[in-house]
């Protein structure tokens, strides 16, 4: 399994002006040094509460917003230093699906024009060929070619998301980033769309990055899961491992909140107190310590380093001191680089 996408130490800070006369310039630490990789034909899940930077991460990978620092490599090419021509090529191979199926389709274009747009932008085929491809792809996602002439407002939320998927798929990309692909939909429709997404992945052999706050969705689709908290990855593991043996207290709390369809199932619910702290002034030490049920003195002082506690299972928490330290391998270099600054120690 080759690595398709590598994210290395990505940071995105948004400047904000505060104070009297907006004189102080501060930064929202939306994403603070995250590293992960996505293998081809695999699905990477990014979970976390709202505001933890998961959407920012997705957008920064696609360069919809420019990361402050870090590296994103797609098939070994650094996306952040590409020229316009290379970027065009890259954009054929990476697509995005958005959360809001009502806002992500231009209300004034017909379905045909919406799905055709990627082909137009990348100058694929002539009018007739494009129409055929649009009709084909609509059939594949479970719509009818008759729908081509209709406008987005004539469709239900699930159908709109199918249109969005068709649009993302029409260029046959290698990576699709989905930002909360189903959270705007009814639960019954969610299942249909999720199943469709999984089926398409098997059929067309591409990778997903799925960004969601919904742990059950992530569990169903992902091969690998990263849990984010306040701009950092706190735990990352293969999906089965993460759900079977979660380690980080935050992951445990999240999992304990997932409703279970078994009424006899008894479990201890971990209720987190307080709100997510402001990403403008993230807490010192471990960012989770103000809300952590298993807080220790050390948590307030030093940020935990990432440790490998199991096979491909890494956690950033002071509770786990056994495993070897884990550091992301800078992309393009096969051997671990030594002596990197520990400023963003929680990066995976």
């Amino acid at each position: 399994m080759a690595e398709l996408l590598e994210v290395y130490n990505m940071v995105k800070h948004f400047p904000v002006r505060r104070g009297l006369m907006r004189s102080r310039r501060e930064y929202v630490h939306a994403v603070d040094g995250i590293s992960f990789s996505v293998d081809s034909e695999q699905t990477m899940g990014l979970v976390g509460e709202s505001g933890c930077g998961k959407s920012t991460a997705g957008r920064a990978i696609l360069r919809l917003i420019r990361p402050t620092s870090g590296e994103v490599r797609f098939k070994g090419e650094n996306l952040l230093t590409m020229d316009a021509g290379q970027e065009r090529q890259m954009r054929r191979q990476m697509q995005m699906i958005f959360q809001d199926p009502f806002g992500s389709l231009n209300p004034r274009l017909t379905v045909e024009r919406i799905v055709e747009e990627p082909l137009l932008t990348h100058r694929e085929g002539n009018g007739r060929e494009r129409r055929e491809r649009v009709a084909d792809i609509l059939r594949i996602v479970g719509l009818l070619p008759e729908h081509m002439k209709r406008f987005p407002h004539e469709f239900s939320g699930g159908q709109r998301q199918r249109i969005m998927i068709a649009r993302a798929l029409v260029l046959q990309p290698e990576l699709i980033i989905c930002d909360e692909p189903v959270s705007a939909l009814d639960v019954s429709v969610q299942a249909q769309i999720i199943n469709l997404m999984v089926r398409l992945q098997r059929e067309f052999r591409f990778s997903y990055i799925i960004i969601s706050h919904d742990l059950s969705v992530i569990r169903y689709v992902s091969h690998k899961v990263a849990v984010m908290y306040l701009g950092q990855i706190v735990e990352m593991a293969p999906a089965a491992t993460l759900y079977a043996t979660p380690r980080h207290p935050y992951t445990l709390a999240l999992l304990s909140a997932v409703p279970m369809p078994d009424p006899r199932y008894k479990r201890q619910r971990i209720i987190l107190s307080g709100d997510v702290p402001s990403p403008i002034n993230p807490p010192a030490g471990c960012r989770f310590h103000p809300r952590c049920p298993r807080r220790m003195d050390v948590c307030e002082q030093t940020a935990p380093i990432m440790r490998e506690v199991g096979r491909q299972h890494v956690v950033a928490c002071h509770l786990y001191t056994d495993g070897p330290e884990w550091r992301p391998v800078p992309p393009g270099k096969p051997i671990k680089a030594a002596g990197r600054s520990g400023a963003s120690a929680a990066g995976i």
Binding site: F98, R108, E117
Partner: protein
């Protein structure tokens, strides 16, 4: 070279569905009674103002001083010789109204066109690109807004001389700010929409996004605003003609007729009422049509 060729090819392919859309739009307009009435009325005004010399060929400047203040035909003292009466110099009011319609419509529509073109382009770029370009355009707009419209017009006409063309230019250029500001506001909210981001994610160039995704979504308020401004322009033209800076006299315009007639309002009501009515009917029909077009252009409001 190939880029130009491709642009042309894709423009052609964009044009075909546009034509289909226009045909559907016309069908939609026809389904709305108020729009239909507005459209029919404005069409009638246009046809009459273009073709009246065929039926009623009278010199609008000819004076009949013996027949000054002849009332319209249905009033005592009126005659079929002057169906809508005569003015203080004994000129035929009907034919002056008809000639005036040409000037008013020409100036009204052309000036709005000039203003829309300038305002839409500047507003689009200002809102979409933001930053320094936005500041520059908006500061220029502020200057235009701060400058009294009459003063601007007087200075420009004083330099360029008064003619219909200069009048259109001045009226158009002093009105672009309204469009630019309106459109900039909508663009600011539109460019944050996910479908714009989605288009950017697939690599669509900014200029294509502006014309494919932004413009169609801001166009209908522009259309409605345009129809409202046609009315204003017609009135401004009247004011300028009254001050002697509009269409050079003695060419009749509705504005000048209104201005000249107001001196005799107690003795000859028709001198002000008739051009006023003409302005009102024209503006009303344009507005009705504009409202209908807005609804018909928005796929979401169709079939409602």
């Amino acid at each position: 070279m190939s880029a130009i060729h491709d642009t042309q090819a894709s423009l052609l392919e964009i044009a075909a569905p546009r034509l289909r859309f226009m045909a559907e739009t016309l069908r939609e307009v026809a389904r709305r009674p108020s729009a239909l009435i507005g459209g029919a009325m404005i069409a009638m005004v246009l046809i009459v103002s273009l073709s009246f010399p065929l039926f009623y060929s009278v010199d609008p400047l000819e004076q009949d001083l013996m027949a000054r203040f002849t009332p319209p035909v249905w009033q005592d003292g009126g005659s079929w010789h002057y169906p809508l009466g005569t003015d203080n110099l004994g000129r035929d009011v009907l034919v002056r109204l008809l000639y005036g319609s040409r000037v008013s419509l020409l100036v009204g529509f052309s000036a709005v066109l000039v203003a829309e073109l300038a305002g839409i382009l500047l507003g689009l770029f200002s809102g979409y690109y933001g930053g320094k370009l936005d500041s520059l355009i908006m500061r220029v707009a502020d200057i235009f807004m701060a400058y009294p419209f009459m003063l601007l017009t007087i200075s420009v006409i004083a330099v360029l001389g008064s003619s219909i063309f200069n009048l259109i230019l001045v009226l158009g250029l002093s009105d672009w700010v309204t469009y630019a500001r309106t459109i900039r506001g909508s663009v600011l909210s539109l460019k944050k929409k996910e479908f714009v981001e989605a288009s950017r994610a697939i690599g669509t160039p900014h200029r294509v996004i502006i014309f494919r995704h932004i413009l169609p979504n801001v166009f209908s308020p522009m259309l409605v605003l345009g129809t409202l401004r046609v009315a204003n322009i017609i009135i401004w033209e009247s004011g300028l003609s009254f001050l002697g800076m509009g269409v050079p006299p003695p060419m009749p315009t509705w504005g000048r007729m209104l201005a000249e007639g107001r001196l005799y309002i107690t003795d000859a009501w028709w001198l002000v009422t008739l051009p006023g009515l003409a302005i009102m009917v024209t503006i009303l029909s344009i507005n009705l049509l504009g409202d209908g077009l807005r609804d018909a252009l928005d796929p979401r409001l169709r079939n409602v």
